[in-house]
């Protein structure tokens, strides 16, 4: 048995593994930094978050080695079973779950709260990989697209019902996967990007100006291409469509969004906001990051980022601590590490011979990217305050274990070099 155990790291992609370990280490170090105040506490203190985070990291590594040592067929053959199992768990959390911070997404077990939606991500990634790789033929039919869409929509809807806006948005990451596999065209991707861009813009600027901008842009382009009648007609059509969209975003925001969703988004728009609400976090977060300067204040030297001023310091706002204590140099390094990590996963996914592995790899990259983009975007005030963790860094057992499973299944798939 010995050589086999020794061999679990054989063929595992070392760069990804090393970056993973680096990220986990940075996470533990910064959860500790976010928490200690004055009196230095023991590193292995399970009554505090950093101690628990070390425990979560240990559990994650244990699970990772189990994944690397089991037969890969468990994941490829039982994708649907795993998927439906987690759908059932998501339904039962709605009924039996505990509500924490207005989000009914938790199972309380002893001192720990488990968030099943963190595990629903890899389950959905597997089922999408399984389904798309099983589609026969050279053309993608409408019913294929529909089925793929439904498989993603079910967990998304369930998470939305838990009132967990952040995780719901993360399921949007599958757009990249669908795009890569030809289930979504480039125009749709461009439209989604445009829609997100206009959405944020609408919240920041009065919609009248945006519509005026769209109209004047249409007129300018029309003058340039004045000879081509059909193109101008199409252009006017797009112009009306975009204006209607901008208007409806504004309308939805004013009339449809629930209070807490609206509040989070308003924070981005107004500087005059309630100091105790989400805006307080954002302002404090910007002060903390901004005060870091070029080189930062040094490890454990941060004064703004302690639990005291930014309440979600160890979880959703962990990037603050890094920004304050390590400065621009440190935060940029972290972003670059993340970029390398994500690009490496994409390149590795492309190298896979099995379609299942490739699709799964894209799912991993996309999900991690969405978390990365929303979390850091929020911390530095580019995206509304949406509470989702920064993978491998934020404090939290469910997310740490969930992301580890997500990543290591891919590492295992990659190591096995599946033929199908």
């Amino acid at each position: 048995m010995r050589p086999q155990q020794f061999n679990i790291l054989k063929d595992v992609d070392k760069p990804l593994l090393i970056i993973y370990l680096i990220l986990v280490f940075i996470g533990v170090a910064n959860v500790y930094a976010a928490e200690i105040d004055g009196s230095h506490k023991a590193i292995l203190d399970f009554s505090h978050n950093h101690g628990k985070q070390i425990l979560f990291a240990a559990i994650s590594l244990l699970i990772a080695s189990i994944i690397l040592s089991v037969d890969i067929k468990i994941f490829t053959s039982f994708s649907y079973a795993i998927y439906w199992f987690f759908i059932l768990v998501l339904i039962s959390v709605l009924i039996f779950g505990t509500e924490i911070k207005a989000t009914k997404a938790w199972f309380q077990i002893g001192g720990f709260a488990i968030q099943p939606s963190e595990f629903a991500k890899f389950a959905t990634a597997m089922v999408i990989a399984k389904y798309i790789s099983s589609v026969k033929g050279t053309t993608i039919k409408f019913k294929n697209r529909l089925k793929a869409f439904i498989l993603i929509a079910i967990p998304t809807a369930l998470v939305l019902m838990q009132n967990d806006t952040g995780t719901t948005l993360v399921f949007g990451a599958f757009v990249f996967v669908l795009y890569r596999e030809g289930y979504v065209s480039g125009i749709i991707l461009a439209f989604i990007a445009m829609a997100i861009f206009l959405f944020v813009l609408t919240l920041l600027i009065n919609e009248i100006y945006i519509i005026a901008g769209i109209v004047s842009l249409t007129i300018i382009i029309s003058i340039i291409i004045r000879k081509k009648k059909t193109e101008i007609l199409q252009l006017i059509g797009v112009c009306i469509l975009l204006s209607a969209y901008v208007y409806s975003v504004d309308y939805c925001f004013e009339n449809i969004l629930q209070h807490h969703q609206k509040e989070r988004i308003t924070v981005l728009i107004d500087d005059e906001i309630d100091m105790r609400g989400p805006g307080y976090n954002l302002n404090q977060s910007k002060i903390a990051i901004g005060s870091g300067g070029l080189w930062g204040k040094g490890y454990l030297e941060g004064t703004q980022t302690k639990f005291d001023f930014v309440p979600e310091q160890g979880t959703d706002f962990i990037f603050c601590t890094i920004g304050e204590e390590w400065g621009f140099a440190g935060s940029t390094t972290l972003i670059l590490i993340y970029m390398i990590f994500l690009i490496r996963i994409v390149l590795l996914a492309e190298k896979q011979r099995s379609i299942f592995s490739r699709i799964y790899g894209y799912s991993v990259a996309s999900i991690l990217f969405f978390h990365f983009a929303i979390n850091i975007g929020m911390t530095i005030g580019l995206v509304p305050v949406i509470g989702i963790p920064l993978p491998f860094l934020s404090y939290g057992g469910s997310s740490m274990v969930g992301f580890t499973i997500l990543l290591f299944i891919f590492l295992k798939l990659d190591a096995k070099k599946l033929e199908r």
Partner: protein
């Protein structure tokens, strides 16, 4: 199977995805560059400079009486705050000399502050008065990490109405855990209207962020106060209280244990609510609060206990007005039903005593002279009616009539901590006697307001108001408007009708007028004011009887309804009725002519020196 043709055709799409990743990463880096390197406004001028978050406490809302007179306001005081993480090497001894605390106390306070937070301020020494503040402030620059924060404390203009106002105290850990608004050291209303209207009174806290140098000196606001929020003062309360009447009531009740509740019948507005022994609300403010609370708490006369809402007395003969109304409603008596009273009621070995009075009596006479024989007969006739299948049904009907006057239930109004009183239901008697084991005779004492009946003074006043209104009441309440005197509180505006038809009320009101005009209450008659009332004497197995009286005046379109209970004082007619009469005179004419009558009450002392030796 090798990669098929179809997906391969999308191979180039990986570049699009990678480009998106890279673009977002670059956007973040650019943003961080502007935030951390270019935008110096986020940095502090010197590296040792730090931010200090100072809570800006709003002034608590003021409280006025019904005529716009100020009753409760705020006085400034100062808290010496500490941020442990900013305290350097300081001269502890001279600090202790400055503030007048011991070294041990210093260490203990510092330990507590560290436990709360290293980087956020907590109270080091609370509630420093103005004079010491000026002196401490002058020397504080020698002690980095310490600063002074101003707050306000309650000040009560008159030493009365403590039970109505309640008091304000530091938020307990439970309140802090359950409500994110509160921080340790914050004040919160703990009882009375300070508690009920807490969310209006407290206002909104603000935060000022100051830049502080290494020596603990404030350099100025952070970023031109861009992140500061201004405190919003609490909203004022306009109460229904008539402060003159309240002061007068508390004066009349001196050296007596009991309660007065006066209500404006048409609106349910509480004009005064007296519970004695009372205490000065200023005793429960500031540094002296804890100590005073403990001594009030351990006082054998229980001054903190609000008798108006929490003492449950059997109503005694006062209850005969309700009993009679039920008799009329059920049709078992008519106003001209006459009866000869031999001075007692007797049936199967049970005797209810009566006193000597004119004979025979009709229904009005039975109230005027408070005839127990008549009351016992009437009660049995109601319960033993043939139209009900069994006693459970007839008793439940009777009970429904009783509770429709607000008895046996809480009002759920704006005065916290009221008791519901007691009106036992038929299950109660079934449990004791078995469902066939009791009859109208078993529960006969209910007919004269004794037995399983408990009413609070507030409920008794409300009964008087209901009769004054000829059949309905509005929930008694203490606040008529919030923030703006014209912004009327409509929450308690519903008319609650009793189960008795309106036509019977004129008769009972007229009978109650005769009680005062020539019956048991004639001693308390007021010249030129038509007052209707009913006396009661509550049997007290532990000592002298309790004296009870309810009344309203004027008889038609009453402006005031009142209940008075004086414990251990004897007959209702002798003590409670005169107090009610003086209160009514005071309220309706704004002065009291009957000086000797008033002096007799002021001189009376019903506090038992044996039971309360410390009160001599």
């Amino acid at each position: 199977m090798l990669i098929n043709q179809q997906t391969n055709s999308y191979l180039n799409r990986k570049f699009v995805i990678i480009t998106i990743f890279v673009v977002i990463g670059l956007v973040f880096i650019v943003r961080l560059f502007s935030l951390q390197v270019l935008d110096t406004s986020y940095k502090l001028s010197a590296s040792r400079n730090i931010l200090r978050h100072i809570t800006d406490y709003p002034a608590r809302g003021l409280i006025y009486d019904r005529n716009g007179e100020l009753l409760v306001h705020n006085e400034p005081f100062y808290d010496l705050m500490v941020i442990p993480g900013q305290v350097g090497e300081i001269d502890t001894v001279s600090f202790c000399n400055l503030t007048g605390i011991t070294i041990e106390s210093f260490e203990r306070r510092m330990q507590n502050a560290k436990q709360f937070s290293y980087h956020r301020g907590s109270i080091f020494i609370g509630q420093i008065e103005k004079d010491s503040y000026a002196y401490i402030q002058e020397h504080l620059h020698k002690f980095p990490g310490f600063y002074v924060q101003s707050r306000t404390l309650r000040n009560y203009v008159y030493p009365v109405a403590a039970h109505i106002f309640g008091y304000v105290g530091e938020a307990s850990q439970r309140i802090i855990d359950n409500n994110p608004y509160y921080q340790p050291g914050d004040y919160v209303g703990i009882s009375g209207i300070e508690k009920y209207y807490e969310e209006f009174l407290r206002g909104e806290k603000g935060v000022k962020i100051k830049v502080v140098d290494a020596l603990g000196r404030e350099i100025g606001p952070y970023q031109d106060e861009r992140y500061d929020t201004i405190a919003i003062a609490g909203e004022d309360l306009y109460t229904t209280l008539d402060i003159d009447l309240q002061i007068y009531g508390e004066k009349l009740m001196q050296n007596k244990i009991g309660s007065i509740v006066a209500i404006e019948p048409s609106s349910g507005e509480i004009l005064s609510m007296v519970s004695t022994p009372n205490y000065d609300p200023n005793l429960l403010v500031g540094r002296v609060r804890t100590q005073n609370f403990l001594s009030l708490y351990s006082d054998t006369l229980k001054p903190i206990f609000n008798r108006a809402l929490m003492a449950e007395y059997p109503p005694g003969s006062v209850f005969k007005v309700i009993s009679t109304l039920i008799g009329l409603q059920e049709g078992v008596v008519q106003p001209n039903t006459r009866l000869y009273c031999p001075g007692y009621y007797q049936s199967r070995g049970i005797t209810v005593r009566c006193r000597e009075h004119k004979n025979p009596v009709d229904l009005t006479g039975s109230i005027k002279y408070s005839c127990n024989t008549y009351a016992a007969n009437l009660f049995r006739n109601v319960i033993d009616q043939d139209k009900y299948k069994n006693i459970q049904e007839s008793f439940t009907t009777w009970r429904d009539h009783v509770t429709s006057f607000g008895l046996g239930n809480v009002f759920n109004n704006d005065l916290p901590y009221e008791l519901s009183g007691i009106v036992a239901n038929s299950d109660y008697y079934d449990n004791i006697y078995g469902s066939n084991g009791w009859s109208s005779l078993t529960i006969l004492s209910l007919g004269i307001g004794q037995g399983e009946l408990g009413t609070t003074p507030m409920q008794l006043a409300n009964v008087a108001a209901t009769i004054g209104n000829r059949g309905f009441y509005k929930t008694p309440h203490i606040v008529r408007a919030i923030d703006d005197p014209e912004n009327k509180n409509s929450k308690f505006n519903n008319k609650k009708y009793s189960t008795i038809d309106e036509e019977h009320f004129d008769f009972i009101a007229e009978s109650m007028f005769q009680v005062v005009d020539e019956g048991t209450g004639r001693f308390s008659r007021i010249e030129d004011i038509e007052m209707a009332g009913k006396t009661g004497t509550v049997q007290n197995p532990h000592g002298e009887n309790h004296s009870v009286f309810i009344a309203f005046a004027p008889k038609d379109d009453p402006e005031i309804a009142i209940s008075v209970v004086i414990e251990n004082s004897g007959y209702g007619a002798t003590w409670a009725a005169p107090v009610a009469s003086l209160m009514i005179e005071k309220y309706l004419t704004r002065q009291v002519e009957r000086k000797w009558f008033e002096q007799r009450i002021l001189d009376a002392n019903f506090i038992n020196p044996e039971k309360h030796p410390d009160k001599q």
